[in-house]
């Protein structure tokens, strides 16, 4: 983990008056924390998008970058499984129109073209700084329904590997990772590693209030963080190191 670089990223964003970090910046923090993210690049226009998608290789995912859109998929800001340039052009045009329609005042900073991750079990790993207890780490099963199901486990951060595994075993959906009804066992060690690293990152980084990987896709071997978001502490909240 590259502490200094992460601290500088957070400081620059905070100095620039930002309240959140964009997905590419949040993923840069993950990369610096040695948490695996898909190959991606940031593009500004269609021509750029097509050129980069060729280099990355299809299938790709197209995502909008906007500080004003919190839940991208609710706003047609995510398009997955794009197989060729024709489809990319079509999806991108649609996305621009749909977003303009849904949130006309949103500031659009660009688009992400990202290598589509293979299917796996989707989990969420998040950290939040609690006013009373400081950094807390959460693990849960499954993407967007997590707020509904609340099948999650919490620990005070930082945590060690044993605590991380214990957290995973606590959630009801754990058999989906361990292998359920003939499905293969997923890489539990790798998930534990992400929990430990993310909990460590927030414990050592001032200025981040919430940081969340959702989803983290878990394969038989390895994991990949396909989306991430971060909320910064308001400048008054940042304590001197």
């Amino acid at each position: 983990m590259d502490n200094e670089k992460i601290k500088n990223i957070v400081k620059d964003a905070s100095d620039a008056g930002k309240k959140t970090l964009s997905e590419p910046v949040a993923k840069e923090i993950l990369r610096l924390s040695s948490i695996s993210v898909p190959i991606f690049c940031v593009v500004q226009d269609m021509e750029d998008a097509v050129k980069n998608a060729e280099e990355i290789g299809y299938p790709v995912v197209l995502k909008i970058i906007s500080p004003d859109i919190v839940h991208k998929s609710d706003m047609h800001g995510v398009s997955v499984g794009i197989k060729n340039s024709g489809e990319l052009e079509e999806k991108m045009s649609f996305m621009i129109l749909a977003v303009a329609d849904e949130s006309p005042t949103a500031c659009i900073e660009g688009f992400i073209i990202e290598k589509m991750a293979p299917n796996g079990v989707e989990v969420i790993v998040g950290v939040v700084k609690d006013e009373q207890f400081g950094p807390v780490v959460m693990f849960g099963l499954g993407g967007a329904a997590v707020e509904l199901m609340k099948d999650v486990a919490f620990r005070l951060a930082p945590v060690d590997k044993n605590e991380a595994v214990e957290m995973m075993r606590e959630v009801k959906g754990y058999p989906l990772l361990a292998g359920f009804r003939g499905s293969s066992a997923k890489d539990i060690e790798a998930v534990a590693d992400v929990i430990v690293k993310l909990a460590g990152m927030i414990s050592e980084t001032d200025g981040i209030k919430e940081f969340e990987i959702n989803p983290l896709i878990v394969h038989e071997h390895g994991v990949v963080a396909v989306d991430a978001r971060a909320v910064l502490e308001s400048p008054g909240q940042i304590k001197a190191a």
Partner: protein
């Protein structure tokens, strides 16, 4: 006012008290009651009465300029007029007067118990007064305000201002209770007293202007008179310090806690799922786990846990439960409750099964739950308990005698208690029933056995005894 000219003295005192821990609250030699009165039924008079009843061995100084003596004791016009150093001064005077009185006496007293309400809980003016108190805590350690103070069977101090007629005091025991709520502490004490269960120290610290749960846990961790600690929490003052203090304590003795106000809304303006889900209670649970605290779900759990540990039962070495009953249905209900509580009521291993077959009449089905049926006798209960708890097959026994079978006698509780002691393992009694059954509960209590009316509460007690196993915990 005596304030001017006292700065030097107070500076010296400040250094003294800050280095010394607030342990003196638990072994005071002198206690002053500020605002003492001979008028029966008034708070400060009840406290004088409480001190007399518990037999406080040190000296008591009533303080009130209106009287020269109260109930045969010399009464002092002010704390400053007392010649000896006062370890604990109890303030039951209006909130607005309290900070000034403590300030004037800051060189004469080590600690203050501020019973009075009317501080932060009462609005803006009260917040100002409480901040004044907090400012004084560098020279005088303060418990309260808005609290009951201390009930201590070891030092024999009782500042609780509820009369003995209304609220019974528990005998001496090894359970200590610390509570933000005075009424919760009082109610738990009354329930435990009714169950014949003792306590070591009970502290109600109310608004926590100075002393909080972490200070108490730090003291109780090393207190040889305390075998287990139960904590009632509304909110903690300093999260990480609390976790560190509780972890240090739970490494030495079981720490149980109830957190109320679970359904409070999640922190506002969260933009991530994590932020939206991370309500107060989830974070408290995470903190409890880190600190090795046994979480209690509600009032009933709190009382069940206090009964189990208050009776001085040892923690269980594992989660294997043996159920012995003469009521088949209650036995199954207990087994169901065990499964829910992640306790294992597994069948008897073969060697034990064969041995039991020889012990009981041939028409008995030997299993777990062990159903002694309507043919149950005192002896069958005692033998079954002795044999199943010998060896390393089970960690806890729940014995559930239904009083129907005519052969069961009033000797049963003593026989069970003897075998329980011999086993060195925790044994819990569950006796659901009405008038006759309830009249027999006292027999078990007298034998030092915790007795429960429902399978669920008995199993809850078994669960906390299993959770209380002191193990190596992750560093905080």
């Amino acid at each position: 006012m005596l304030q001017s000219g006292m700065t030097e003295k107070s500076d010296r005192k400040k250094e003294m008290t800050r280095v010394s821990k607030p342990d003196f609250f638990f072994s005071p030699r002198t206690v002053a009651i500020v605002g003492a009165t001979p008028v029966k039924g008034r708070i400060s008079n009840i406290i004088l009465e409480s001190l007399r009843r518990i037999g406080f061995p040190g000296r008591v100084f009533p303080v009130n300029p209106k009287y020269s003596s109260i109930e045969g004791m010399d009464c002092y016009p002010s704390l400053t007029d007392i010649k000896e150093e006062v370890d604990v001064a109890v303030f039951a005077v209006p909130a607005a007067l309290t900070p000034g009185l403590i300030r004037d006496a800051r060189d004469d007293i080590k600690g203050a118990v501020v019973i009075s309400g009317g501080f932060a809980e009462a609005g803006a003016e009260g917040i100002t007064l409480e901040n004044e108190l907090r400012g004084l805590s560098s020279s005088v350690r303060i418990i309260g305000p808005n609290c009951m103070g201390i009930y201590d069977t070891v030092s024999r101090l009782d500042t609780f201002f509820i009369s003995f007629e209304r609220i019974k005091r528990p005998q001496k025991g090894r359970l200590s209770i610390i509570s933000q709520s005075g009424s919760f502490a009082v109610t738990a004490m009354d329930e435990l007293a009714a169950e014949g269960i003792g306590v070591a120290r009970v502290v109600s610290y109310g608004n926590k202007a100075d002393m909080n749960e972490a200070d108490c846990l730090e003291f109780l961790a090393d207190d040889e008179h305390t075998g287990a600690v139960a904590v009632y929490i509304e909110s903690v003052s300093d999260g990480r310090r609390f976790v560190a203090a509780a972890a240090a304590c739970s490494a030495k003795k079981p720490v149980l806690a109830i957190k109320v106000g679970k359904t409070a809304e999640a922190a506002g303006a969260a933009r991530s799922h994590t932020g939206a889900i991370a309500g107060r209670y989830e974070v408290y649970r995470a903190a409890f786990k880190k600190a090795g605290i046994i979480e209690l779900g509600g009032y009933e759990d709190f009382i069940s846990a206090c009964k189990a540990y208050g009776m001085g039962l040892p923690s269980a070495r594992g989660r294997r439960v043996m159920i012995i009953t003469d009521g088949g249905g209650i036995g199954v209900a207990l087994a169901d409750a065990c499964a829910w509580a992640r306790l294992q009521a597994a069948p008897l291993p073969k060697e034990l099964h064969d041995e039991m077959k020889k012990t009981v009449p041939s028409y008995f089905a030997v299993s777990n739950p062990m159903d002694l049926t309507g043919s149950a006798t005192d002896g069958l209960f005692a033998d079954s308990l002795e044999k199943t708890m010998a060896g390393d097959h089970y960690d806890i026994a729940i014995v559930a005698p239904m009083w129907g079978p005519p052969a069961l006698s009033d000797n049963l509780p003593k026989l069970i208690a003897d075998k329980a002691r011999k086993s060195g393992k925790p044994v819990i009694i569950c006796t659901p029933g009405g008038e006759f059954t309830r009249s027999r509960m006292e027999l078990f209590r007298k034998q030092g056995l915790p007795v429960f009316l429902t399978p669920e509460s008995a199993v809850k007690a078994a669960m906390v005894l299993a959770d209380g196993k002191i193990t190596q915990r992750a560093p905080v």
